[in-house]
Subunit: 179 residues, 2 copies
C-alpha cells in the first residue's frame, strides 16, 4: 500500500489519542500552548482552573529530551500518568475542594512522594509557589515537576550515593535554568 503509517495509535484505540491529535499539528507534536488546550479539552483539571502557560512550559521541559519545546504522544501519556498521581494526592489533602493546600499539607504530600526535606527547604518551596500561604493545584504541579527534575539531575551527579553532589558552574546553570 502507498499510504504512510499513521503518526500514532488509530482513533478509538487510546482515549487520550483523541484529545492529543485534535491539537497536535502535522508533526504529531504539541507545544506549551497546545498542551494547555489539550488538557483543558480533556477535562483534566476537573474542578480546578486550566493550567497556566508557565506550568505547561515546565511540564513540557520535564520530558523534552530533544529540546524542541514540544512533546509527542508517548511523552503526553507519560505526563498524563504523573498528573493523575499528583491530582489524586492533591485531592486527598484538599479535602474541602477549596482548590488549594497550605504549607503543612504540602509538606505531607512531598513526604508521601518520598522526599525528605528540611523545614528550611519546605519554606523555600512555599515562598516560591504559594500566594498568601496557599498553593493552588497549578502551582502544585509546577512544584512537583521542578522537584522531580531537580532531584533526578542531582542524583545523576551524586555518584557516591551519599546525598552530596559536585557541580561545575556551567553545568549547575544548565540544570537549574533547564526547568
Amino acid at each position: 500500500m502507498a499510504y504512510p503509517p499513521p503518526a500514532g495509535p488509530p482513533m478509538g484505540v487510546d482515549p487520550l489519542w483523541g484529545f492529543f491529535s485534535a491539537v497536535a499539528g502535522a508533526d504529531g507534536q504539541i507545544d506549551a500552548e497546545e498542551l494547555q488546550r489539550c488538557l483543558t479539552s480533556s477535562g483534566f483539571s476537573g474542578s480546578y482552573q486550566p493550567f497556566s502557560k508557565e506550568t505547561c512550559r515546565v511540564m513540557i521541559a520535564m520530558l523534552d529530551r530533544d529540546y524542541s519545546g514540544k512533546m509527542g504522544f508517548n511523552e503526553f501519556k507519560e505526563l498524563w500518568g504523573a498528573l493523575n498521581q499528583w491530582r489524586d494526592t492533591f485531592y486527598r489533602f484538599d479535602s474541602d475542594r477549596s482548590g488549594n493546600i497550605d504549607a503543612r499539607e504540602l509538606q505531607q504530600t512531598l513526604t508521601a512522594f518520598g522526599y525528605n526535606l528540611s523545614p528550611q527547604a519546605i519554606g523555600a518551596i512555599v515562598r516560591h509557589f504559594a500566594t498568601d500561604g496557599k498553593i493552588v493545584f497549578d502551582s502544585f504541579v509546577a512544584c512537583c515537576v521542578r522537584l522531580r527534575v531537580l532531584t533526578t539531575s542531582f542524583q545523576q551527579r551524586d555518584t557516591m550515593r551519599n546525598g552530596s553532589a559536585t557541580f561545575r558552574y556551567d553545568d549547575f546553570i544548565q540544570v537549574v535554568m533547564g526547568i
Copy 2:
C-alpha cells in the same frame, strides 16, 4: 520631642521615596503586588509593559534577607540601581525598541555582565525565558535576577575558587527553589 523618627527619608529628599511611600503600608515594606504598582507608577518600565507579578516576586526574593516576602526602602533603592543597569543594557541591544531581544543578543548582554556561559547553558536560559525565540524585557529582568542569585549562591560554595561546588541535597533544593 515626643515624635517618633520617620520610617524613611522625609518627602522631597529622595525622589524614589515618593513612589515607595505611596504604596508601602504602615510597616514601610512592599510586597510583590505593591512593587508592581510602585514600578509602574514610577514610569520605570518606560516604553515596555509593566512587570509581571512573577518577575516582581523574584525581584523581592533576590533581596529578601529575612524571608518576609517584602522589601523596605533601602532594598528598593538597591533594586532600582540594578534595574537601571539592566534596562540600559537591554535598550542597547534592543536598538529598534521592539521590546525584545533574541538569543544572540542575550548571549552578548550576559557576556557584557561578565558571565562566561557555554552555548548549552545559553540554550537552557533561552528555552526558559524566550517565547518564539524572543526575550521581552520582563523575562530579561527575571533572567538577570535568577542568574545573579544562583551565581552568588554557587560562588559561596565554591570554596576553592576553581569553578566547582559541592552541595548537599537539601541545600541544593533550598538554593534552587529559593529564587
